[in-house]
């Protein structure tokens, strides 16, 4: 055999091993979701009977039950509302602050920058009770508005840094020429900086939206009224809602999870690059 065929052989074995590795990890990590997906079409007795089997008849009765038994639609809307609202406020205020600390270099902005940067060191769940007290103090506990404000605040550090480092890539000369034309800082911000930061804004948007959407701890601690619950918090109550009705539980889980997956599949590139930008810039 010539050297080439030996090398080719080794190369092909290598590629085969690589594929086997990828498939094993893929299967092992995805099979729980496939299991829940398939089981959501089974009847409860089927689920109790055989864990691994294809449903005998594909039926949506579990999904109908899920919508009727639980408040999943309400919870979904709550989550959507606080995520969308928080994201809007969040992007604006952090871009404003990032712009101010990026363009103006003085003691004030430098110390603010240091102050906020220290926020990345702090785990979000060490000061649970103090935060609860603060929310109670301003009468924002058990309210969706409270969650919106809380999340907008909690989500500041990393996106602020990302946005700030992006603004550095916008030439200050653009600001200068606008100022010569008589524009105020706010005008410059809204008409020059914001449009030019679209890419980074989308990144920040995605990061914060996913943060708020998936958040559990504070939504769990702050909201007591059933109708105000967010989606994630409601999920845990589904376990008791569906005590004897596993099919319903699985269907409810799928309803909760599928929108996120579908959104992701549509916006793949943006989501992936957005979430990794946090890691790379950081």
């Amino acid at each position: 055999m010539s050297a080439n065929t030996v090398n080719n052989f080794e190369k092909n074995i290598g590629i085969l091993c690589a594929y086997i590795f990828l498939i094993i990890i893929g299967l092992a990590s995805l099979f729980p979701f496939v299991w829940v997906f398939l089981s959501s079409f089974k009847t409860t007795s089927e689920i109790l009977g055989k864990a691994i089997s294809l449903p005998e008849h594909f039926s949506f009765h579990n999904y109908i039950k899920a919508f009727n038994t639980t408040n999943i639609t309400r919870a979904f809307l709550n989550s959507m509302m606080i995520s969308a609202t928080s994201v809007i406020f969040h992007s604006i205020i952090i871009t404003l602050a990032a712009y101010a600390t990026a363009r103006f270099k003085n003691r004030f902005t430098k110390s603010v920058n240091l102050y906020i940067s220290l926020g990345i060191l702090i785990p979000l769940n060490c000061a649970i009770y103090p935060i609860l007290l603060i929310m109670k103090g301003v009468n924002l506990d058990n309210s969706l508005l409270g969650l919106i404000i809380l999340y907008t605040g909690l989500g500041i550090p990393v996106p602020y840094l990302i946005m700030r480092s992006y603004i550095f890539t916008i030439p200050a000369s653009l600001d200068e020429s606008a100022k010569i034309d008589g524009a105020s800082q706010f005008t410059i911000f809204f008409h020059i900086i914001l449009p030019l930061s679209q890419n980074c804004l989308i990144t920040v948007l995605i990061i914060h939206f996913i943060f708020v959407w998936n958040e559990f701890l504070y939504a769990f601690l702050l909201i007591r009224t059933r109708d105000l619950r967010t989606l994630q918090v409601s999920l845990q109550f589904f376990m008791s809602d569906f005590m004897y009705d596993l099919g319903g539980l699985f269907a409810a889980m799928m309803i909760a999870v599928l929108p996120a997956i579908i959104m992701f599949l549509f916006f793949q590139e943006k989501v992936i690059s957005g979430l990794t930008a946090g890691a790379i810039k950081g």
Partner: protein, 296 residues
């Protein structure tokens, strides 16, 4: 005149962020640290207590066990991240980097679990581990392991914690994609000149790829380890810390102490959580010399 206008802008632009950040980061941490040195096990805060709360965490028979197990589990999680999770992601990233057919599909498939909320994942796995209808039970029955059937692995004395680890250890989507992006950024010329010098693939990886990935691996260590410290809902929904705190973590302990109205203890554990979090960030920064360029 202009200076005043500029200052006015700076203040108004920064104020919202400043207020919210102080309200939800700065003030809570101050309250956390200060009250951890006070008595607080009713609704009203008591008097100064010095280090008593911390001493309690180390000496009280029940709480010190819970505390010790919590720290052990947090450290164990950290080790799993550094020595299994990230290496798996590295291998996967290197494989996907070769861009064999279908790599994009794998990339998406691996990333999906990272999009799904941890809450949903926890509940799904809780069903999976269910002793009557779960997949684990089915597996044990097929393999005829009598001792494990009808047993809920999550609450198992030895394997419980590892079952929890199993719910995330293979979800390497995020670190893989980050590493993949960094790999893309490595100039091909480096590999070409190495090949001219006669380097093997292995040598290429060890002497070119890995050193260039040093920064991002360090960053990933920081991100994933600190995310591990922040974990709450997964463990809360899977086991709640049972049995007897064996699957508990510091995060869970902070919550539990709060539900027992033992706010001082809750805050002291919180301080520990804060310290450990900061410590690991500093350690990884030093260890990986993040920020220092790899090029001399």
């Amino acid at each position: 005149m202009n200076k005043a206008k500029d200052l006015h802008f700076q203040i108004s632009a920064i104020l919202p962020v400043l207020i919210l950040f102080s309200l939800f980061y700065f003030i809570p941490i101050i309250v956390l640290v200060v009250t951890s040195f006070m008595e607080w096990d009713k609704l009203q805060i008591g008097g100064f207590a010095g280090f008593n709360n911390y001493i309690h965490l180390f000496t009280d028979p029940v709480d010190s066990r819970a505390f010790e197990l919590a720290i052990k589990n947090n450290l164990s999680w950290t080790l799993f991240v550094i020595f299994i999770h990230i290496p798996l992601a590295l291998v996967t990233a290197l494989i996907l980097h070769s861009k064999n057919k279908g790599w994009k599909i794998f990339r998406v498939l691996f990333f999906i679990p990272n999009i799904i909320s941890i809450t949903a994942i926890a509940i799904i796995f809780r069903q999976l581990f269910n002793p009557s209808y779960g997949v684990m039970n089915w597996l044990f029955e097929i393999m005829n392991i009598e001792s494990m059937t009808d047993v809920n692995l999550l609450f198992h004395k030895t394997y419980g914690w590892y079952s929890i680890i199993a719910t995330w250890i293979l979800y390497i989507g995020f670190p893989t994609v980050v590493l993949l992006a960094e790999l893309e950024a490595i100039p091909k010329e480096l590999y070409e000149s190495a090949q001219i010098e006669g380097a093997t693939k292995g040598q290429e990886h060890v002497f070119i790829t890995l050193p260039l990935l040093k920064n991002i691996i360090g960053t990933l260590c920081i991100l994933l380890v600190t995310a591990g410290f922040r974990e709450f809902e997964r463990i809360y929904l899977l086991t709640g810390g049972a049995p007897e705190y064996r699957t508990g973590t510091l995060s869970l302990l902070v919550y539990e102490k709060m539900t027992y109205v033992q706010f001082a203890y809750s805050n002291s554990v919180g301080v520990f959580l804060l310290i450990i979090g900061v410590l690991f960030i500093l350690i990884f920064n030093r260890l990986f010399k993040i920020g220092k360029s790899v090029y001399l």
